[in-house]
């Protein structure tokens, strides 16, 4: 388990480093057309390491730019969903009673809906291509499981002596939540947040695949896959490059998250 986790971490650090360093590794920017090399396969000679697309844009540059978008949205949207989920779950679990019942009922209802629909509806709210809006929309649907986990933890924490002591010494509820409850739920939250990141990356690339997400001249792994799928008969690399990047990213994040969770569930193994 440890070996897998280390491997996943190394892969992620390498990918992130590559994505960040990409502008210095290729002479081509992500949005410039190279008229001499349109739809040309990967080649060392022309310095198009991963080939070009139909318009002659460098696929390495575009793929790496797309990966920066994926990582940014993945991490930020996971953060948004962690914040909402922790606040919601801690409040529901701590206040309890009817408030708890109503808040969790709301979670149940939203849970029952196909969340892809909610993401699609929310994404129409913002001007197309606004990345900031995109991660708010994605993060806003990813918090449900987090809220459930945090609520469960809070329910048991609420009965502990240090909370009674805080109440007795006159600490107000928001301060108790922030200083005593939240730090104690941090560990499962971190493990789950790691698993949340690939989920968010999937949402983003899904929306971009459908044409609702990241817009030209910027690329997303989803939009690259969608373009590549149309050209795959004549130029398979246009599909395979972004598909391989997305696969590696998702597998690495999932292996990391699963190992973290397994470690937390049985710390002595």
């Amino acid at each position: 388990m440890k070996g897998r986790m280390r491997a996943a971490l190394i892969v992620l650090v390498l990918l992130a480093g590559l994505a960040l360093a990409a502008p210095w590794l290729t002479p081509y920017p992500h949005d410039t057309l190279d008229w001499q090399h349109q739809a040309s396969p990967p080649s060392i000679e022309s310095m198009h390491w991963l080939g070009t697309d139909r318009l002659g844009r460098d696929l390495f540059a575009r793929g790496m730019q797309a990966m920066r978008v994926s990582l940014l949205i993945g991490v930020l949207a996971a953060l948004v969903s962690v914040c909402i989920g922790v606040a919601w779950g801690a409040a529901a679990g701590y206040v309890g009673g009817r408030v708890d019942a109503a808040m969790m009922r709301f979670v149940d209802i939203v849970y029952a809906l196909p969340y892809i629909f909610i993401v699609i509806i929310l994404s129409t709210l913002f001007p197309r291509g606004s990345i900031a809006a995109l991660f708010i929309a994605i993060g806003a649907v990813g918090w449900l499981t987090m809220a459930r986990i945090v609520r469960g933890q809070t329910l048991s924490l609420r009965r502990r002596e240090f909370v009674d002591a805080a109440i007795a010494s006159g600490v107000r509820t928001p301060a108790i939540l922030w200083r005593h409850i939240v730090p104690n739920v941090a560990v499962p939250v971190i493990a789950y947040a790691t698993l949340n990141i690939p989920q968010m990356i999937l949402f983003e690339s899904f929306l971009s695949f459908l044409g609702l997400g990241v817009q030209e001249p910027f690329a997303s792994l989803g939009s690259l896959i969608s373009e590549g799928a149309q050209e795959m008969e004549s130029s398979p690399w246009m599909l395979l490059v972004p598909a391989a990047l997305l696969t590696t990213l998702l597998v690495a994040f999932n292996v990391l998250g699963e190992s973290l969770r397994a470690m937390l569930e049985s710390p002595h193994e």
Binding site: A112, T124, L212
Partner: protein, 307 residues
């Protein structure tokens, strides 16, 4: 049991109501409208259009009118597909979507459960390990990666199946979409079945049965399978939801004339009623499937049956 089932069915109504209300107001908040085009329409025509579709009324009036239509089973006129009711559009595409969805669920159950059971039974074999590593990939990869890659390999390099389009009655168009759609569910079902089967195989009554000298098939299928299937059954509801939303992608990838594409087109064109109609139809499907899975669970596991 019957009373419980009826109560659960009644519980669907408020959930549906929340779904309709939320999506109605959120989509109206979105900038732009169905009649915004490259060239602005003359104000008089625009006003006539708005009046014809009731868009000139206050939002709450529109909402009330829409609700009363929906209750009567009418999803309203499409704003972009002139002369079509939303009900007609969805009804035309639904058979295709349901065919691939149903076939994918069937394939997933027939493949995923036995594979998982095998992996639990022979946990140390290399085949079981390979299977489980492969299932990680299957769970993680989305349909828009699997679909095009399958189409490239089995449609172009090795032309076994058709990769795009659809002719009624010709199954070769449906093979790749169904496999694409089923793959993640197969992988997840295999993982679920394996872990619950492993737990069951370690329990006391299985040891007793084994000590009694029962043969492996009897042990596996008569004694171990039913309790091991519980998590599988509770996953069926979410699985159906997954397959429904997945069919959206698969229909786009393989150019199938299903109803899934209307959701995206509708969202892009601000075709309010079309988006709403899709959400209602697919939402009802999801909720009903979740409910059926819950009831099935109660039938399989007497402990959760309400007294």
């Amino acid at each position: 049991m019957l009373i419980y089932a009826l109560r659960r069915i009644a519980g669907l109504v408020p959930t549906l109501f929340v779904l309709v209300t939320l999506s109605f107001f959120i989509i109206r908040l979105a900038p732009g409208g169905p009649f915004d085009q490259e060239q602005a329409l003359p104000p008089a025509i625009r006003a006539n259009l708005d009046a014809a579709y009731g868009l000139d009324q206050p939002l709450l009036t529109q909402y009330g009118r829409y609700l009363s239509d929906v209750v009567r089973g009418d999803l309203g006129p499409s704003f972009r597909f002139k002369d079509f009711r939303v009900t007609e559009l969805i009804a035309a595409g639904l058979p295709v979507s349901l065919t691939i969805g149903f076939a994918a669920m069937l394939l997933a159950l027939l493949a995923g459960v036995p594979l998982g059971a095998y992996a639990a039974w022979r946990a140390d074999s290399w085949a079981a390990r390979a299977l489980m590593n492969f299932s990680l990939l299957g769970v993680v990869l989305p349909a828009y990666v699997v679909g095009p890659v399958l189409a490239l390999v089995f449609g172009i390099y090795w032309p076994l199946f058709r990769v795009a389009g659809y002719e009624p009655g010709d199954a070769s168009f449906l093979v790749l979409p169904v496999i694409t759609l089923a793959l993640p569910v197969i992988a997840y079902l295999a993982q679920l079945t394996r872990s619950s089967m492993q737990e069951v195989l370690q329990s006391n009554y299985i040891r007793t049965a084994r000590a009694k000298g029962l043969s492996a098939p009897v042990l596996l299928f008569r004694h171990a399978l039913r309790p091991a299937l519980l998590p599988v059954v509770s996953y069926l509801g979410p699985a159906v939801a997954f397959v429904l939303t997945g069919s959206l992608v698969v229909e786009t990838v393989f150019g199938l004339p299903g109803s899934g594409r209307y959701l995206v087109q509708g969202a892009l064109n601000r075709d309010y009623t079309l988006v709403m109609g899709m959400i209602i139809v697919y939402g009802v499907f999801t909720l009903v499937c979740n409910l059926v899975a819950d009831l099935l669970y109660g039938w399989l596991d007497p402990r959760v049956r309400p007294g």
